[in-house]
């Protein structure tokens, strides 16, 4: 009886939620097909065209609208996100592994690690910039900003791996030891394949968080801008639909990353299912 009321209400709510989530992106997507070079970033669409996409790739004849100054930023952001992903995931796996056995002061260390994702990014960025000035280190996206990105994303990777290890049955590792296999080889041959779904999630978190990190990078990255900073920079001059076309393209790139993640995840979940069946028996 109650479901007859609750169901429509929940569907409307879900619909609204999705509308707010994807509405802005749809608007950007539509506007990116505005005619160029005279069409602006507003409705109505004067004429449908792929002019701005061509503009993004430098395929249009020269016009008064300069190419987007963001390509170097894109390269930097991808490199930075990749470096951050690798380092944070490795650190996350290692520290979560350490937390499998309780050690002296483990509670305190846990909170100190997790604090890295709680503290306001603007303050951390500013603080690091000040420290770098005092110590005399140049601020760079691959140095100071990289450190902050790791500090920020490492706790996420750590928490993901902690959850994975929490329900990990360590008797398979003991079984490997009792067969004469060293702990290091056991980790490589048994533990790692079994925690791989978690490692993938940790990597995805670290990459996406670093890829569009803004506040910390703003102060810490120095002269060379990362992608979010470069995009923000273009807003201060004049907005053309080419930035929308670029937005659509990067979003498609993110979706393809997610697709890769989904494929890898399905493969390892199929394996995890076997584990579950084994535990049930």
């Amino acid at each position: 009886m109650q479901t007859t009321v609750i169901k429509p209400v929940l569907s409307v709510y879900t619909g609204l939620f999705l509308l707010f989530l994807y509405g802005p992106f749809v608007v950007l997507g539509i506007l990116s097909f505005q005619t160029g070079p005279n069409g602006g970033p507003q409705f109505p669409i004067i004429e449908w065209s792929t002019y701005w996409y061509q503009h993004v790739f430098g395929l249009t004849p020269p016009s008064r609208i300069a190419p987007l100054p963001i390509y170097e930023g894109l390269a930097r952001s991808l490199t930075l996100a990749f470096m951050t992903m690798i380092v944070s995931t490795v650190l996350g796996v290692m520290s979560a592994q350490a937390f499998r056995t309780k050690f002296k002061g483990s509670d305190a260390v846990f909170y100190l690690i997790v604090l890295g994702m709680m503290v306001p990014g603007v303050l951390v960025g500013l603080g690091l910039a000040l420290v770098a000035n005092i110590v005399g280190i140049d601020r760079t996206w691959w140095g100071t900003a990289f450190v902050l990105h790791v500090v920020y994303t490492f706790p996420f990777a750590f928490l993901v791996m902690l959850a994975i290890f929490n329900r990990f049955d360590s008797s398979v590792e003991e079984a490997a030891w009792s067969l004469g296999v060293s702990p290091i080889k056991t980790f490589r041959k048994v533990t790692f394949p079994l925690i791989f779904p978690g490692v993938l999630s940790a990597m995805l978190f670290a990459f996406t968080l670093s890829y569009d990190e803004f506040s910390r990078t703003l102060f810490a990255s120095g002269r060379d801008l990362t992608l979010p900073l470069a995009i923000y920079g273009t807003f201060s001059i004049e907005i053309h639909p080419n930035i929308f076309a670029f937005g659509v393209l990067t979003t498609l790139f993110s979706f393809s990353l997610l697709a890769v993640y989904a494929v890898l995840m399905t493969a390892s979940l199929r394996r995890a299912k076997r584990v579950a069946i084994q535990e049930d028996a």
Partner: protein, 357 residues
């Protein structure tokens, strides 16, 4: 016989709660020792200490005469079979069995042909033929048990520790695997130390039985001796086939205030006086008949019975409130028709009881 494994004064506590205290025992070469204890008696802890998964607080573990207390688990060369089998879920049956030979630190096997023939021999021995390429999730519980065993045995350890290896199997499979375990062991001549919570399993499997009692060794002896002459009331209790009475020695009788049983035969030294009579040594008679010479007995109210196939279990309530269990084997006793809530005389030979005091 030489001892493969000697344990001397082993102790282990968890946050000041003792799990094992001063455990000493030895296991001979080519011997099957079962380790019996109720849950919480420390039997799994003992096994984990021997395997090197955990460190003892005190005591020595001698393997082939060498103290291995500080040797890491993967260098001990002691096999371990887990209750949940702990198979590698991401590997096939074949790769599970090959895992130790290929990946071990000490002289790993690299010759593919030698490896294959070793594994196929083992697959044959444990009866897994034709299943080598299956994933470990695609086989039954009993087959997984065989994989776990094969994986351990193929690297030819001198001794294999089995932690309730049959506990995860259903009843008829368990009985079959008991025979299999014994056959495989004697064929390979490897020493087994088998932990179990089931007294029937311990009695059926072991050349000797070690009974663990609250973290200490209660008794070490042959199954026959443990079954017929448990050394203490606790050991008798774990065997699950004795009726136990607590009380005091009073002249030439044992008394708990309500019942008096005449003493015949030896008295077993124990700090707590107790009287034990095995369930299948008791006969049920109509009440009112007096006891013959050399007999002990009590009157009790019949409650219920339970049919177990080859035997009947009868449950009585004695005058002191004690539940007395009587086992009647149908091969030498016809099933008795007893009236519920009627009083009967339970009788046994006084010299067949065990008295501790």
């Amino acid at each position: 016989m030489t001892d493969v494994l000697r344990i001397e004064g082993l102790s282990k506590s968890y946050s000041a709660k003792p799990a094992l205290f001063d455990v000493s025992l030895s296991v001979a070469d080519n011997e099957y020792v079962s380790l019996l204890g109720p849950s919480g008696s420390g039997k799994t802890v003992l096994l984990r200490l021997i395997a090197g998964f955990e460190q003892p607080d005190a005591g020595r573990i001698l393997f082939d005469g060498n103290d291995i207390a500080s040797v890491p688990a993967h260098e001990r060369g002691i096999g371990f079979v887990f209750q949940n089998f702990a198979l590698f879920p991401h590997l096939s049956v074949y790769d599970n069995i090959a895992f130790g030979l290929v990946n071990r630190e000490r002289d790993p096997l690299t010759d593919e042909n030698v490896l294959r023939s070793k594994i196929m021999t083992m697959v044959d021995l444990v009866g897994l033929k034709g299943l080598e390429d299956r994933g470990v999730h695609q086989i039954s519980g009993g087959q997984r048990q065989r994989v776990a065993l094969a994986r351990t045995l193929v690297s030819q350890p001198r001794i294999v520790l089995l932690d309730e290896p049959l506990g995860a199997l259903d009843a008829n499979l368990r009985t079959r695997m008991r025979g299999e375990l014994r056959r495989i062991r004697s064929q390979l001549g490897v020493t087994f130390l088998h932990v179990t919570g089931s007294e029937t399993e311990a009695l059926a499997m072991g050349d000797r039985i070690v009974v663990l009692d609250n973290g200490s060794v209660g008794q070490i002896d042959t199954p026959d001796a443990v079954y017929n002459r448990p050394i203490s009331p606790n050991v008798a209790r774990y065997l699950n086939c004795y009726n136990l009475f607590e009380g005091a020695i009073d002249g030439n009788a044992f008394s708990n205030g309500v019942h008096r049983f005449p003493l015949k035969g030896a008295l077993w030294p124990n700090s707590v006086p107790a009287y034990a009579i095995r369930q299948d040594l008791i006969t049920v008679r109509q009440s009112g008949v007096s006891l013959a010479d050399g007999e002990a007995g009590l009157t009790a109210t019949y409650l219920a019975s339970e049919y177990t196939g080859a035997a009947f279990m009868y449950f009585f309530k004695a005058a002191d409130g004690h539940i007395v269990e009587v086992e009647g084997h149908l091969s030498h006793r016809a099933p008795q028709n007893l009236d519920a809530n009627s009083t009967y005389q339970l009788v046994w030979k006084a010299d067949e009881a065990l008295v501790y005091g």
